[in-house]
Symmetry: C2
Subunit: 98 residues, 2 copies
DNA sequence: TTCGTATATGAACACATGTTCATACCTTTG
DNA sequence: CAAAGGTATGAACATGTGTTCATATACGAA
């Protein structure tokens, strides 16, 4: 039995949403710190504020993160904890990046 | 400790390479059948020959599949078995596909 | 209210990716 | 050798994604 078309599409959708170094970094940091502000993530990832904000809103829109205002800050949180395992799964994979 | 930039890039690279319903289907079928010809995969996935061939060459190029000629057929094989686990990881994830 | 800090937004652009189509290349068979 | 089946290739195009920049918004402090 194969996975249904729907399931494959959902999986592909999620994979596309996280398939970026910065977004993977965000996921990693949010697993370790539960919740972080945009500025903290800017520091941690080294990604520029505006760009990171785009990444974050996108991940939030797609349902992978949640955001909560706290004064002038916004606290982002990882909604789907299993996502960190994805990286673990493929860490040992070989590939040709050239 | 966070993952190094290199590791994040590699992970993102692999995720991008598999983040497509057809390619995920190929991975699933190749886990279940060890090796399959292009035509068999055309049947199983419902993807058109030429398009599937593009997907396959690409995955091979990136090092996720291997290919072996056998007469007029080409047998594709999953090189990185762990890839099927990625799908398992995110199967239960919620997301907003709208 | 005015200022400074934190975050978001939208347009514009560059670049990557998915798809189609026509056709080429091999191999086997007659 | 010709024909047929299986697979690959390349151009062309449409679409999606990542990035930058300028600017907007929201909030807290003075």
């Amino acid at each position: 039995m194969s996975l249904s078309k729907k399931k494959l599409e959902k999986a592909a959708f999620i994979l596309r949403t996280i398939a970026h170094p910065t977004r993977l970094a965000v996921i990693e940091w949010l697993q370790q710190h539960d919740q972080l502000t945009v500025n903290q993530l800017v520091e941690l990832t080294g990604c520029e504020q505006s760009l990171l904000s785009h990444h974050l809103s996108n991940m939030k829109l797609k349902g992978l993160l949640t955001a909560k205002k706290s004064g002038t800050n916004v606290l982002y949180k990882l909604k789907e904890k299993q996502l960190t395992q994805v990286v673990r799964c493929i860490e040992k994979c070989d590939c040709n990046m050239s």
